[in-house]
């Protein structure tokens, strides 16, 4: 883990959805990270006031010299609206990292792997999926269950769909909790025990499960997995925020 603050430069900004943007950062001083880890970002105002927040790394460690973060807009927030409304290519700010404990996965750890995301909780799981592809670990079975409000809110949708289309061992299931397009054939409710039963049946007993999203989402999904009989220490969690979706 690197600890000092260093300067990152924004190389590019990508619009993922109406409420999510990706920032490509060049940060030469950041040492190799493990998928699932995050960086801390520190912003400084002219009066000396500083704000710090954590953002998961979205890109795989195989991308050298750059890393990507994806920030979801929290309307009444302090830092995420700044990223959405102000930050552009060429801007610089301070970051430190990589940081993170057990919420990491590398292809050497194998599978089957159950990934469950709520909203922007997809970000660190995307780093794991991209790393699995970049390290050609296509034989490791993975199932991603990803809960969003609507299809338009699904971050990385095209990339996820094309990854799954080309990969016999990767399954991606979406559930849309608020709005569905006509003819939607995926799930249309919050993640519940029955849904977890179905995806585990499709995947086969997971050796490792990763659950990421708002606190309430992670609490309910992780508890349901334990009640289904998965070993508590095979379930790794990252809780992003205080409120539920």
């Amino acid at each position: 883990m690197t600890t000092g603050w260093q300067i990152a430069t924004v190389e590019a900004v990508k619009t993922e959805t109406d409420r999510a943007k990706t920032f490509v950062l060049s940060a030469p001083g950041i040492s190799r990270f493990r998928p699932g880890q995050h960086i801390d970002i520190r912003l400084t105002a002219p009066d000396g006031y500083q704000a710090q927040r954590s953002y998961s790394i979205a890109s795989p460690p195989e991308d050298s010299g750059v890393l990507e973060v994806t920030v979801e807009l929290i309307e009444d927030g302090e830092v995420s609206p700044y990223f959405h409304e102000v930050v552009r290519a060429g801007d610089q700010f301070e970051i430190r990292g990589p940081i993170g404990g057990p919420f990491t996965w590398q292809s050497t750890e194998g599978g089957p792997l159950l990934l469950i995301a709520g909203g922007s909780g997809i970000v660190p799981l995307m780093s794991m999926l991209r790393h699995r592809s970049a390290s050609s670990a296509f034989n490791i079975p993975v199932l991603l269950l990803y809960s969003s409000r609507s299809l338009d809110d699904v971050i990385y949708r095209e990339e996820l769909e094309s990854m799954a289309a080309q990969d016999d061992h990767l399954q991606v299931d979406f559930t849309l909790t608020r709005q569905r397009p006509d003819g939607w054939s995926g799930y249309e409710r919050r993640v519940d025990d029955e849904m977890l039963g179905e995806v585990i049946e499709k995947l086969g007993a997971p050796r490792l499960s990763y659950v990421c999203g708002p606190t309430a989402f992670v609490e309910s999904v992780a508890s349901a997995l334990v009640e289904r009989g998965l070993e508590a220490d095979s379930i790794r969690t990252e809780r992003f925020g205080p409120s539920g979706t």
């Binding site: 883990m1 600890t3 000092g4 300067i7 520190r42 912003l43 400084t44 105002a45 002219p46 009066d47 006031y49 500083q50 704000a51 710090q52 927040r53 954590s54 927030g77 302090e78 700044y82 102000v86 801007d91 610089q92 700010f93 301070e94 430190r96 940081i99 993170g100 404990g101 057990p102 919420f103 606190t215 992670v218 609490e219 992780a222 508890s223 997995l225 334990v226 508590a232 220490d233 379930i235 790794r236 969690t237 809780r239 925020g241 205080p242 409120s243």
Partner: protein
């Protein structure tokens, strides 16, 4: 370095400052590495030990029969939020020492351990003189599982990861050793006012 166009959000003036890098939160976020364990008070107990020797052991009824101590304090989590004016009740480590007849601290450091395998290390002196509780109530209610209930260690002058949730015991040690987060590079001591988040801070 200045961040172009960043002014910070005008927040209601806090009655007192928060530690560096922290922001004030009204809610009560949760940080844990895995699922929230369900602890059964019927079989729960708390052990103080040193060199494999049991110095004190209490079940739930015994813990509850010891004098309760209240704390009105501010909380600081390493994930950047602080929360002012929270109320906690539990049994102070001083009172547990007295109940167990421990007069001299059995070691300069402690490894707190929990259901679910969590551990965290602290200097013993940071648990004494009213600085720490074995806590079972938050805001007048039984402590919720997600916040470490039914019983957690509570050491509010350090970052909250030092307040081991789902506590089962304290193992006294002569020398400091890293616990769960500390082994991942988090700070051995964790003073929020010195912003000791990670090793080297």
């Amino acid at each position: 370095m200045l961040s172009r166009g960043f002014f910070g959000k005008k927040r209601p003036e806090a009655s007192r400052p928060v530690p560096p890098g922290q922001y004030l939160e009204d809610g009560f976020p949760v940080l844990s590495a895995g699922p929230t364990p369900r602890v059964d008070l019927a079989t729960w107990d708390l052990t103080f030990e040193s060199d494999g020797e049991v110095l004190g052991k209490w079940d739930w009824e015994q813990l509850k029969s010891l004098p309760a101590t209240d704390m009105h304090v501010d909380l600081h989590c390493v994930t950047k939020w602080s929360k002012h004016d929270t109320d906690w009740r539990g049994v102070s480590i001083d009172d547990l020492f007295e109940a167990a007849g421990i007069t001299d601290p059995p070691g300069d450091y402690v490894m707190a351990y929990s259901d679910g395998g969590y551990t965290t290390n602290l200097p013993t002196e940071d648990l004494l003189d009213g600085k720490a509780l074995i806590a079972y109530e938050y805001d007048g209610e039984p402590l919720e599982p997600a916040h470490g209930g039914p019983v957690r260690l509570f050491v509010p002058h350090l970052y909250l990861w030092k307040s081991a949730k789902w506590i089962r015991g304290l193992r006294f040690m002569e020398q400091d050793a890293p616990g769960f987060w500390e082994a991942y590079g988090y700070h051995m001591y964790g003073d929020p006012w010195k912003e000791q988040r990670y090793i080297g801070d």
